[in-house]
């Protein structure tokens, strides 16, 4: 029942932030960020289990491990970018949040380049010359 | 507030210590009371050398003269000498201790009882009388106001005259000035140059008259004595109480001008005898006449070498001519009160050194 815990923390933090926000917005922001990080860390433990399972499956089905690693990296980048962007957005900096998201997209694309290249190569081989 | 407030002042000794370690050793030695009161008002740097003087010099000490940046001088037994920091006495001024500006400031603070502002009258007259009856003459820059002396500043010269109470001197001359018929003293003028012991003599006379004598030779009743003490020298009052023994039936007006004081004394205190120091002004003469008319006997002193000198001074001449004084006591300078006393009658004829009933009829 971890969700109950998380919701409870969320409620409490919300109240605390409401109390602090009008006098010290700075501290309210820090509290938000702190809580966000806390929940994220909590979730990471769970995601770790998922990733382990995925790795196991990939090994058994003899998929090229480079692909899986790249895939996981992309997921990681997506998570980090999402987290960063949301935190910044909480502080009201929409513009910065957008830039972080953009950076995440581009980096994902960069990561994906080898895979795309491999796919195109395979397609070229399949097509008659 | 703090609950712990110290009552003791242990660190005060540190103030006196430092570079003048043995400045106050006389306090432990148990100095003779006369000199002790004098040393009490001297800064440690000056009291030390004086206290280290030889016993003989200390006993005959007459004056301590302090001049800023110049040698410290003492006058004793009619002689003088300069005093070094270690108490060594010499005629040469070169090895002597020279009081600093700080010494002088401290001295003026001490002799004025830390209250120079209360001494304006005394400053105007040029001297301050300290506890023990010692008179400290002061010299400095005089500040004038509309032509009269207002006060003195930049005080840099002091002359401390050691007052000594010599009991019994009066007993030797009292028979000569006693009026058997009226059972009182005659009008008497004591004449001498400064420093010969006039004041000491009249003080002792006041004491002797006030006590009277009820046994032994020359018995006499105790008289009511009034001392008019303009310079606080006769009785040396400290806070109104005489520091010398001037007798049980004696009243003292302290610090009052002589003429006014005599009038006040006549009106208020009904004395048998008025004792007054150093007369010579015209108001004094008027007051003396008043006293004589009221039937009060007067014992006064005046500056002068001898009979002729006194008879030549306008006010005194007039008083003597009017027959106000029937006895003149002349003291000689060099011998102090121990000798050199001549007693004259009102017209300047010497009496022989014994009670003289023959002169009784001349009493006014």
């Amino acid at each position: 029942m971890e969700i109950v815990q998380i919701v409870a923390i969320g409620f409490i933090v919300t109240v605390l932030i409401l109390v602090i926000r009008e006098r010290q917005p700075l501290f309210a922001f820090l509290l938000t960020a702190f809580t966000g990080i806390l929940i994220f860390i909590f979730l990471l433990g769970r995601i770790g289990e998922v990733v382990e399972t995925l790795e196991l499956l990939a090994e058994e089905s003899n998929v090229n491990s480079v692909f899986l690693k790249t895939l996981l990296k992309i997921i990681g980048i997506a998570y980090i970018a999402e987290f960063g962007a949301q935190t910044v957005r909480d502080a009201g900096q929409e513009a910065v949040a957008a830039k972080i998201e953009l950076a995440g997209k581009i980096l994902i694309m960069v990561m994906a380049v080898p895979i795309i290249a491999a796919i195109i190569e395979t397609i070229m081989k399949l097509l008659p010359a | 507030m703090s609950a712990v407030i110290k009552r003791d002042w242990p660190h005060i000794d540190e103030v006196n210590a430092g570079d003048k370690p043995s400045g106050r050793e006389w306090e432990e030695q148990g100095e003779t009371p006369v000199l002790e009161t004098a040393l009490r008002v001297l800064p440690a740097t000056l009291a030390g050398p004086v206290a280290r003087l030889p016993q003989a010099v200390r006993e005959t000490l007459e004056e301590i003269r302090i001049r800023q940046d110049r040698p410290l001088e003492v006058v004793y037994g009619g002689r003088y000498g300069f005093l070094a920091a270690d108490g060594k006495l010499s005629v040469s001024p070169f090895s002597a201790y020279r009081p600093t500006r700080g010494d002088c400031r401290q001295l003026i603070d001490l002799i004025s009882n830390h209250s120079l502002y209360a001494m304006e009258e005394q400053l105007r007259r040029g001297f301050i009388t300290v506890a023990g009856g010692h008179r400290v003459g002061i010299a400095g820059r005089v500040v004038l106001e509309r032509g009269t002396v207002r006060h003195m500043r930049d005080i840099a010269g002091f002359n401390m005259r050691i007052a000594r109470e010599v009991r019994g001197v009066a007993d030797r001359i009292l028979p000569l000035i006693w009026d058997e018929d009226l059972s009182s003293v005659r009008h008497t003028l004591v004449v001498s140059p400064p420093g010969a012991g006039k004041t000491t003599l009249v003080r002792d006379m006041a004491r002797a008259l006030s006590y009277g004598r009820d046994e032994g030779p020359f018995q006499r009743p105790a008289l009511k004595v009034g001392i008019v003490d303009e310079r606080s020298e006769l009785a040396a009052c400290v806070e109104g109480v005489p520091s010398f023994d001037v007798g049980p039936r004696t009243d003292v007006y302290d610090g009052v001008p002589k003429a006014e004081g005599m009038m006040m004394m006549i009106r208020a205190m009904s004395p048998d005898v008025i004792v007054v120091d150093e007369i010579g002004r015209e108001e004094d003469a008027a007051s003396i006449h008043e006293a004589v008319l009221s039937g009060i006997r007067v014992v006064a002193t005046a500056h002068g070498r001898d009979w002729r000198d006194v008879a030549g001074k306008p006010v005194l001449k007039e008083l003597i001519a009017a027959g106000a004084f029937s006895r003149i006591v002349v003291l000689e300078r060099s011998r102090r009160v121990s000798g050199g006393i001549t007693v004259l009658d009102g017209s300047g004829r010497p009496l022989v050194g014994r009670p003289a009933p023959a002169a009784a009829g001349r009493s006014p």
């Binding site: - | 507030m1 703090s2 407030i5 005060i12 106050r24 800064p43 830390h114």
Partner: protein
Amino acid sequence: MIKLLGAMMIMAAGAMLGFGQARRLRERPAELRRLVMMLQQLETEIEYGCTPLPEALGKFARPDRQALSEMMAGIASLLRRGGGVTVEEAWRLSVDEYWPCTSMNREDREIFVQLGTVLGTSDREDQLKHLRLTAALLKEREAEAAEERRKYEKMWKSLGLLGGALIVVILY
């Protein structure tokens, strides 16, 4: 449990610090006023009574043993003891002794010590001038102290408590 005890002790210490500061602020104007009153009394003694300094100062001795009266009485007793002590020395010694027991600050002290260097060393008018000057300076400082008290007394009280709380929270 021990942690809680420590936290409470820190809170108490902070609160005491704050209250102490507030008390100093509260007492300073009152003490300055008393000092000015003493100087005025001294002024009267000098102007009309010509009372010698040891005696005039001795009159301030009270049975309540407040630091200021004790200070004045201390000067008087030093002067009476004799031994070649000047007013300036006695003044400084006594002030050194008792000033830390009062709530007045160093500048107030400077003004007061300055008076000691001139007291008793000049004629009456000059003395009165110095006394009045010192009294005026101290009065000025009294007004200042009252203003300061109004401004900062509450602040120190809450600040002490809050500071204690802050330390507790940070270390908890």
